[in-house]
């Protein structure tokens, strides 16, 4: 387990003392604490080196959600794992946390097992990012490449699109919802059918711009509904919405296609193939399903991929 520098923010000094103790027992000794949002922001402005932030949802004044949004805009903290802590289990609270940019969520009172699991995932995430950054630095130093290389399969994060979160955060959101609340939700997959062609025709920055453009159109179509969405890699997006979304997949697909057609000239000028978007049917879980909540995302993506493949083969897709 790598060393994590952690900043925990909570207005209850007893909780902070307890959290430091429990984290220390789990092997995380480098924990600083702040009692207010202002103190936390000041500390983060002084130093960029924190690997993980734990924010209470209910701090007075600037609350945890607002604090999370502000931190995400700070230099060096766009993708640092932020774990929100709250007494509440309400789906709306959990969704608000992830929509504000949280990476994960856990509830109080502290549960050793849950905290161990959440922190373990966070440590692995930080370790993986460190490894990737080191690799990228080495490649750039050797080849003099200006841009960070991205792979087609990477779940490239799209940071400036509202209600779009990182794929890991979306998985954590489903875990935080749990099976019973997940029953009230559906996953809808969106897929840029010609994503591989676009990836091959452009550089990393342009490809990320295309993804962000498509994501913003999808988000705009869903703006009247509660949802969270992530890019999953390979030009695929997955969106979690209410189980009974009053919009049908084919209607969504038509509206998105029309919006993309409006930008046809810009894509032509850039020499980038215009994205062709496919929309999957909503996938849900049974109340007594035994599969992991995050499997729903994979199921939605696979179903859309299979449907698209059948369409290419000329089979009728119902």
């Amino acid at each position: 387990m790598g060393i994590l520098r952690i900043l925990a923010v909570d207005d209850d000094p007893v909780f902070l003392m307890l959290l430091q103790h429990v984290l220390g027992r789990l092997g995380y000794d480098d924990v600083e604490v702040a009692g207010t949002a202002a103190a936390a922001l000041e500390r983060l402005q002084e130093e960029e080196g924190f690997d993980c932030l734990l924010l209470d949802f209910d701090i007075p004044g600037v609350d945890g959600i607002q604090l999370c949004r502000r931190i995400r805009q700070m230099q060096g903290y766009a993708d640092v794992p932020i774990l929100m802590m709250s007494n509440a289990h309400a789906a709306s609270v959990i969704e608000a946390a992830f929509a504000a940019g949280a990476t994960d969520y856990f509830t109080k009172p502290l549960d050793d097992l849950e905290l161990r699991a959440r922190m373990g995932m966070t440590a692995r995430l930080v370790e993986e990012r460190r490894r990737r950054a080191m690799l990228a630095d080495r490649v750039h130093a050797q080849l003099g490449l200006p841009d960070e290389p991205i792979r087609f399969a990477d779940p490239i994060p799209l940071r400036d699109v509202p209600d779009v979160v990182e794929y890991e955060a979306l998985e954590n959101y489903l875990l935080a919802l749990g099976r019973s609340k997940l029953h009230g939700h559906a996953a809808i997959a969106f897929r840029i059918g010609n994503a591989e062609e676009i990836f091959a025709a452009t550089d990393a920055i342009c490809y990320a711009d295309v993804l962000a453009h498509v994501a913003s159109i999808i988000a705009d179509q869903l703006k009247d509904h509660e949802f969270l969405m992530a890019h999953a890699g390979r030009g695929e997006f997955v969106c979690i919405t209410a189980r009974h979304l009053p919009v049908q997949a084919h209607v969504l697909a038509q509206e998105i296609a029309a919006r993309l057609a409006d930008r046809a000239r810009i894509y032509a000028q850039l020499g980038v193939p215009r994205p062709v978007l496919q929309v999957g049917d909503p996938m849900t879980t049974g109340l007594f399903s035994r599969s992991a909540p995050s499997d729903l995302l994979g199921r939605a993506r696979r179903a859309l991929r299979n449907a698209a493949a059948r369409q290419i083969r000329g089979e009728v897709v119902v």
Binding site: D11, D12, P13, V14, L18, H21, R25, P60, K108, P109
Partner: protein, 103 residues
């Protein structure tokens, strides 16, 4: 006996803070029973609910959680509706230092 989990310093601090918070709530019971008082009691209940169970005070954690939720839902409008539950919480808070001294 308190479990040998190294949490004794936190338990001691919790006992001190709980005594201070209990005194604050009692002062509100004796003074203005207004929305500001209910907000403060709600905040105390919220903080207490976040740690009590982990420190071995499951009953206090439960009742404090209920007070926090009830006060949040009714937005500090009706003291009398929450008073029985608040009294239960105060009772459980009074037990904390006794429990700590006995261990």
């Amino acid at each position: 006996m308190a479990p040998a989990d190294g949490l004794d310093p936190v338990r001691r601090r919790f006992a001190e803070v709980t005594a201070e918070r209990l005194a604050l709530i009692e002062a509100h019971f004796d003074g203005e029973r207004d929305a500001a008082a209910l907000r403060e009691i709600g905040r105390i209940a919220h903080m207490t609910a976040g740690v009590a169970a982990t420190l071995g005070h499951a009953a206090l954690g439960r009742v404090a959680g209920q007070v926090a939720v009830e006060l949040h839902l009714q937005r500090g409008r009706d003291w009398r509706a929450v008073e029985p539950r608040m009294r239960q919480m105060m009772l459980a808070m009074r037990a904390v230092p006794v429990w700590c001294e006995a261990t």
